[in-house]
């Protein structure tokens, strides 16, 4: 890492917003982004003219080549900083890092980060599965009927083989997040599920079944980053960025250096080091959960439990609100919402809300330190970030 200037305590997230979530046929993809952005701006108590930077990710339903410029145009913004960043599910964390650098260096004062799309009504499930299969290598994976759930299924199968992780433990992850989603007023899914229902849901790619897979939602999320000084004058208590780290190891699973060691270990280590905290200090974790195996692996790699113990942690109920480490308190991508880069972005939104307090039944009491992990590709790109309601 060299002698990089630390981003610790330099910036804060001061506003968060979610669009309407679920099937929202009355809104376009850019419209959902606009709704989330407006809600984040109102949440912060800022004016449109305060925004001088915008970062967004990518969209399958609004495939503008220059999505950042297109979104600025739609929003009527003429910022001095703008980019679209494409690192799959890791994009939101990476956008936060770039926003933090931008603000810390004084290149812009207030950066709006937003992402999402109308994946449910603009694509539909069949088209979404087909489009997402194009993430596979065109010559060496797509040719063989490769698909995203299939790649994650091979990772799950390997984890079961190496550590004895069980089908029931994978199901426990889905049940855990669904229970949390029921406490969230804006979550896509509104009915409880049981382990038995997960195990008897439609087979997708063995060992993964339908309820092991994330949702296809219409949704967008947004957050606003400004300097720690400026943050003190705004509506809500700031969520300070204490640490952030990335690691990138591959894009296609066939080229991954390992099928059981991924980049979360190192992205987490960088974030912990910058923040000056360790896993035992974290009060709440929002872990990327495109498939049930993923938060199990992240829990292990981020040092919360030894390798192989992640499944048992979920099965024992330790990830519930009120448990040892509440995980995905909003319901995650399995039950709250998933649409492109919005999925991981909602983890950041939820972490900020948990740090402010006041989330009622969903509130993790006394939460001071929140960890968010985003990953993109097939556990290819990782970003870990640590937020707190106090400077570290």
């Amino acid at each position: 890492m060299g002698n990089a200037m630390s981003l610790k305590n330099k910036v804060a997230i001061v506003g968060v917003g979610e669009s309407d979530i679920g099937k929202v046929p009355s809104m376009s993809g850019l419209g959902l982004n606009a709704q989330a952005a407006k809600r984040a701006l109102d949440d912060a108590g800022l004016k449109v003219s305060d925004i001088d930077g915008l970062l967004t990710a990518y969209s399958f339903t609004e495939p503008y080549t220059m999505l950042g410029s297109s979104l600025c145009e739609y929003l009527g913004l003429q910022p001095i900083v703008c980019a679209s960043m494409v690192a799959g599910g890791a994009s939101p964390g990476i956008m936060l890092r770039h926003a933090a650098q931008t603000v810390a260096l004084g290149l812009a004062d207030t950066v709006l980060v937003c992402a999402g799309e109308n994946r449910a009504t603009g694509l539909g499930r069949d088209a979404a599965v087909a489009v997402l299969a194009q993430v596979g290598h065109p010559q060496f994976e797509q040719l063989y009927g490769g698909l995203i759930p299939g790649y994650y299924a091979m990772i799950a199968r390997r984890h079961m083989y190496e550590y004895g992780t069980t089908r029931e433990q994978l199901a426990a992850v889905a049940v855990n997040t669904r229970a949390h989603a029921l406490l969230h007023p804006n979550a896509h899914m509104k009915t409880p599920i049981t382990v038995e229902q997960v195990l008897s849901s439609k087979p997708i790619a063995d060992p993964l079944r339908m309820l092991d897979c994330c949702l296809v939602s219409d949704s967008a999320g947004a957050f606003i980053v400004t300097s720690a000084e400026r943050a003190l004058d705004l509506r809500h208590a700031p969520a300070y960025l204490l640490g952030i780290g990335e690691k990138h190891t591959h894009e296609h699973l066939m080229c991954a250096p390992s099928l059981s060691d991924f980049g979360a270990t190192q992205s987490g280590r960088i974030a912990y080091e910058m923040a000056g905290v360790g896993p035992a200090d974290i009060d709440v974790a929002e872990l990327y959960d495109c498939f049930t195996i993923v938060p199990i692996i992240e829990l292990e790699e981020l040092g919360f439990v030894p390798h192989g113990d992640g499944g048992a942690f979920f099965e024992a109920g330790h990830a519930r609100i009120g448990g040892k480490l509440p995980i995905n308190t909003h319901g995650g991508m399995l039950s709250h919402a998933h649409a492109g880069a919005a999925g991981g972005l909602f983890g950041i939104v939820e972490a900020v809300r948990q740090l402010r307090g006041g989330e009622g039944e969903r509130q993790v009491r006394g939460a001071k330190l929140a960890l968010v992990h985003n990953e993109g590709g097939i556990l290819s790109s990782h970003c870990t970030l640590i937020l707190s309601n106090q400077k570290g």
């Binding site: 599965v129 060496f140 040719l143 063989y144 009927g145 990772i155 790619a205």
Partner: protein
């Protein structure tokens, strides 16, 4: 109506690989500087960045590192042949490849299984490497 499965679309990096496949040969890239073999052909060695690479023929034997039986195919063409097995296979020479496990015992596949390359006809002379379990 029978939808046809896709054919390879070679590029400058992969043309020799796909030409050899048409003749029933499995090639991998070998770096003449550091000796590392890699799959997914590239312009330079991903280990040492030497651009002095050669094509070498693989014995075509390897071991299943992981697999999945796919029930929900990504496209109509693959839906017509589902369920099918996808797998990551470590060739005995080192490189990891992705393919289907084929054959009448494909669904009995397990991690650690020995497999051997076989070639599947995708039409118009296009042959693609696949793997079958080695019977004991």
């Amino acid at each position: 109506m029978q939808m046809s499965l896709p054919q390879p679309e070679p590029n400058a990096d992969s043309l020799p690989y796909w030409q050899a496949a048409r003749e029933g040969r499995l090639l991998v890239r070998r770096c003449t500087a550091c000796g590392e073999r890699h799959f997914m052909p590239r312009h330079l060695c991903p280990s040492c960045w030497s651009d002095r690479l050669e094509w070498v023929e693989s014995e075509g034997t390897g071991r299943v590192e992981s697999y999945s039986i796919v029930h929900r195919a990504p496209t109509a063409a693959f839906a017509a042949v589902a369920p099918y097995v996808i797998a990551l296979i470590d060739l005995d020479e080192g490189p990891r490849v992705f393919a289907n496990v084929v054959g009448d015992d494909a669904f009995e596949v397990a991690i650690g299984d020995r497999v051997r390359v076989t070639f599947e006809d995708r039409g118009n002379g296009a042959m693609i490497p696949q793997f079958a379990r080695v019977k004991r």
